[in-house]
């Protein structure tokens, strides 16, 4: 039932917000998001760390087809629901110093988005997953295209067409899997995800299904060479939308890899996994190198995010327990860090009207608070020990390395390059002589500080005591690994 509340509550409050259009809309949205956070934390704290799906609900949806409204939280979903629950109020709070036109619609769309994201991460039925997967796209598209930058229309349109195109192939794969499930009496087939796991598909069928899923998720994450929509979209979107996109939405792709590709198509991975992992590693290196050359802060963070996601995908495809565990932890860590970084860019932009590193400098002089927060989050992204990024990246690299040494080595560049571009960004923006634009730079306001505080707390918490989070996911990951192992072996 808790899952149902997590999904429905934001959607219902969003409907109410649509009717309001006053100055208090943002407070209402923030309040609603806080309640959702409380729900997510409550779920997290009462979760029993084992491999079962908890707090679930299950109703018939299309009885004649055996499609059910079924959702629940297991170890893999748990961290992502927590992430969604924590980030959304911070994103709402980050908009408090900005007046957006038609706030009712703006915040309603954000909450609709949250509702759909919760649905994606908890769905236990294949078609329900697809339903939310697509439903999440509509609010973010409108957010980006209505409140975005000058070039928003073609850019967001490209983003939309690109992602929809990919997910249509996933729909094909889902329908195909659905018809492969054995027909039970009463209902035709079953679309429950666990029933997909039990399928014994032929090698060629697994290959096709693998690619159908992979294209959908690779576009969402994005993995090289499906990433061309990403930098432009991140730059043109208003910052809250960018935070939603980078912080939470791209996790949908990784989550999909773990949820579908690994258990459903083990042979497909054996055949094509290497291609996928090579593409991911290319993305890591390619994204880092481009990030080094960027002058626009937002674009730089976009490429850094592209590079980090490549590492997570590579970790998942390594099919090792550490790789998977690392991907799960890193999803949480990356969500926290990237939202922090984008917010820093937004704070700077709101005061100087520019995101070009050439035009910035010397901000530290007037801003002790911003400097500290920025540095902590930046170091988290660089994966310094004792910060959240370290744990995830270490596990991921370990996983990739045990899969293939050379690939592991190449993926290791992410840390070195990451240090290069992030430190360069920090130094160019914060140190050096002040410019005309940064001369009278005001430090963080109260609401802005309150966005950073929870993020910084999480950075340290996950870095110092990751066990809080890892013990929740371990049983589920072990279970998944067992599953991959048994399926693969029984097929041989």
């Amino acid at each position: 039932m808790l899952t149902l509340a997590l999904i429905l509550f934001p959607a219902l409050t969003a409907c109410l917000l649509l009717l309001t259009n006053s100055g208090t809309t943002r407070q209402l949205a923030f309040g609603a998001a806080l309640i959702e956070t409380a729900l997510a934390i409550y779920a997290f704290s009462t979760f029993t760390p084992n491999a079962t799906s908890q707090f679930g609900f299950d109703y018939p949806w299309i009885p004649s087809l055996g499609i059910r409204l079924s959702a629940g939280i297991d170890g893999i979903s748990l961290l992502l629901t927590l992430l969604t629950g924590i980030l959304v109020p911070l994103i709402v709070l980050s908009t408090f110093n900005r007046a957006y036109e038609r706030p009712g619609t703006f915040y309603a769309l954000m909450l609709f988005m949250q509702s759909a994201l919760m649905g994606v991460f908890t769905a236990r039925d294949g078609f329900l997953f697809y339903f939310f997967f697509e439903a999440a796209l509509i609010p973010i598209y409108f957010l980006a295209a209505m409140w975005g930058g000058a070039n928003r229309i073609p850019v967001t349109f490209k983003f939309f067409i690109y992602t929809i195109f990919g997910s249509l192939f996933m729909l094909l794969a889902l329908v195909y899997l659905y018809y492969q499930t054995p027909a039970t009496t009463g209902s035709a087939h079953s679309s429950a995800i666990v029933d997909f796991y039990k399928l014994k598909l032929s090698a060629s069928a697994q290959g096709w299904v693998f690619w159908a899923f992979f294209i959908a998720f690779a576009i969402k994450m994005p993995v090289f060479p499906f990433h061309t929509w990403q930098p432009d979209t991140y730059v043109e979107s208003p910052t809250p939308a960018t935070m939603l996109l980078a912080g939470i939405m791209l996790k949908m792709g990784i989550y999909g890899l773990i949820r579908f590709i690994l258990p459903v198509t083990p042979i497909g991975i054996e055949t094509w996994g290497q291609t996928a992992i090579i593409l991911s590693v290319i993305g890591i290196v390619y994204g880092s190198i481009i990030a080094i050359r960027q002058r626009d802060m937002k674009r730089l963070i976009a490429y850094s995010s592209f590079s980090h996601v490549g590492l997570m995908a590579a970790g998942v495809f390594s099919q090792t327990e550490t790789g998977l565990q690392g991907a799960l932890i890193q999803m949480l860590a990356h969500g926290v860090n990237v939202v922090g970084l984008f917010f820093v860019a937004d704070v700077i932009y709101s005061r100087t009207d520019t995101r070009q590193l050439d035009q910035l400098g010397g901000i530290t002089r007037t801003t002790p608070k911003l400097t500290v927060y920025f540095m902590i989050i930046m170091l988290g992204s660089v994966a310094l020990p004792l910060t959240n990024g370290f744990i995830g990246e270490f596990l991921l690299l370990h996983g990739v390395y045990s899969y293939n040494h050379y690939l592991g080595l190449a993926a290791g560049f992410t840390i070195i390059f990451g240090a290069v571009y992030l430190l360069r960004m920090f130094q160019k923006a914060m140190f050096g002589p002040t410019t005309a634009r940064t001369e009278s730079f005001a430090d963080l306001t109260l609401s802005e500080s309150w966005v950073f505080v929870p993020l910084v707390v999480l950075v340290f918490w996950m870095g110092v005591y990751p066990q809080t989070f890892m013990k929740m996911t371990e049983p589920a990951v072990a279970n998944l690994m067992k599953y991959i192992g048994t399926t693969a072996i029984s097929m041989k």
Partner: protein, 468 residues
């Protein structure tokens, strides 16, 4: 059966109501008649009857199709606004013709005998020729009517020839008789049987504007008054597909290997022709014409597969498609009327271009929402009924194993998103000089109902479960 009788009588009554001084009674009367027919339709629910010496049949499927057709006409008639802004219009005649044409549509849905199918097609078509040309002073309307008439008459001729050949081969006009002849397919059937089936299919495919018999569609849809375009693109299509489904399922399952592949190829051509051409249109109305061709293609997927799911798929798809199309045309009518008054532009085409929608949503949130919902539904995005329609269609094809057809359909869906979203982009993200458009209460109710139905069916597609 009841709707046929009722509608015939009501149509005659409507003609006489037209002699009253006031036009205002016509619209409520027509709506009332349609509701009465809808209620009467369900009197036979869960029973199967044969009427008129086994010429017509009513069962749950035919009643559901009849209900969709009646619901669509109800919405269209409600949107017509009694033609109050047009002095030369003759609403009594228009409404009467619509009711008469519904009789034809219901015959096409419930026929058991090919003669009945022919009569139904003719009643519907002749009514459509008249409605297409009803804007007498407009040259384009005249051209459209003449074109439609010539091509339509030709297609009907081919269809009739096909029926005659089928009769020649099987010695029967009834579906059951033809089925029993076709059941000997193993021993080999006469060649004229196949030729006859092919010609009959060509005739019907013409009516539902499937490629390569679609060339009349854009001109006719474009030239006809918008309200009748909405009627044509929903009622005629639904009735046509109901007829095709019944024909193929009842009589020709034994020779599936013959027509299945033909229909699959026609489906692929229709999808490609409709979607790709729609991308290049600048007029919204023409885009909708090509979009209706592409939707004929999606509906054909269910026919070409003809699996256990097909009925459900076609019923759901026609419903979703009809609602979305009617609401889109409704918004178009309001917008063109507004622009027509504003600019008095010499070029009537410019009122129907995509630019006419620029900035619409800012001042008219309801119109924007209605249009956006229909576009999303037509594009098949989740949360709308159109998604489940496509879902059902795709699953029929998977059940048959027609994966190549599905890949075409998926690619074309992606193309479809491109042109449907042009409207959404124009409405929400572009700036345009728009004052709020005055919306009459009836319009408001219809649009709200369409939005609720589309989203309701999109969230809970199982609601219609009991109906199939």
């Amino acid at each position: 059966m009841f709707p046929i009788v009722l509608l015939s009588v009501f149509a005659v009554v409507l003609l006489f109501l037209g002699f009253l001084k006031s036009r205002s009674v016509l619209l409520p009367a027509t709506l009332l008649f349609l509701v009465a027919a809808l209620v009467a339709n369900f009197l036979d629910w869960n029973k199967t009857y044969l009427y008129f010496n086994s010429m017509l049949r009513t069962d749950n499927l035919s009643m559901v199709f009849t209900a969709i057709v009646l619901l669509s006409s109800f919405l269209v008639v409600a949107l017509s606004g009694s033609f109050e802004d047009d002095e030369a219009a003759q609403p009594a005649e228009y409404y009467a013709i619509i009711l008469f044409s519904l009789v034809g549509a219901i015959m096409m849905i419930g026929y058991e005998n090919l003669v009945m199918l022919f009569v139904g097609v003719e009643i519907l078509s002749v009514a459509m020729y008249i409605l297409t040309g009803s804007d007498k002073r407009n040259l384009r309307s005249n051209e459209a009517a003449l074109k439609y008439f010539l091509m339509g008459a030709f297609a009907t001729g081919i269809m009739l020839f096909g029926m005659a050949l089928l009769y020649g081969a099987s010695g029967s006009f009834t579906l059951a008789g033809i089925a029993s002849y076709a059941s000997h397919a193993q021993q080999g059937l006469s060649l004229i049987f196949y030729v006859g089936l092919l010609m009959l299919l060509v005739g019907l495919l013409f009516k539902v504007s499937a490629a390569p018999f679609h060339f009349w569609t854009p001109d006719v849809y474009d030239g006809a008054p918008t309200i009748f375009t909405a009627y044509m693109s929903t009622v005629v299509k639904t009735a046509g597909f109901a007829a095709l489904l019944h024909l193929l399922a009842a009589s020709f399952t034994y020779v599936y290997s013959f027509w299945g592949i033909i229909l699959a190829v026609v489906t692929a051509i229709t999808l490609i022709a409709g979607n790709v051409t729609a991308v290049y249109q600048n007029s919204f109305k023409r885009m909708m014409a090509y979009s209706s061709i592409s939707h004929a293609g999606y509906l054909l997927i269910g026919l070409a597969a003809l699996s256990a799911q097909s009925r459900q798929a076609i019923v759901f798809y026609s419903l979703a498609y009809s609602i979305a199309t009617i609401s889109a045309f409704g918004v178009l009518m309001l917008v063109t009327r507004q622009r027509g008054m504003q600019t008095l532009s010499s070029n009537p085409l410019s009122n129907e271009s995509f630019d006419a929608f620029n900035g619409l949503a800012k001042q008219n949130p309801l119109l924007g929402l209605a249009m956006a919902t229909s576009m999303l539904s037509l594009a098949g995005i989740p949360l709308t009924a159109g998604f489940w329609g496509k879902f059902y269609m795709f699953s029929t094809a998977v059940e048959r194993g027609q994966i190549w057809l599905l890949v075409v359909a998926v690619l074309m869906s992606a193309v479809g998103i491109y042109y449907y979203f042009r409207v959404i982009i124009a409405m929400y993200f572009r700036d345009g000089a728009t004052e709020p458009i005055r919306i009459s209460p009836v319009f408001r109710y219809v649009l709200v109902a369409a939005i609720i139905l589309t989203i309701g069916l999109g969230v809970a597609p199982g609601l219609l479960q009991g109906l199939f």
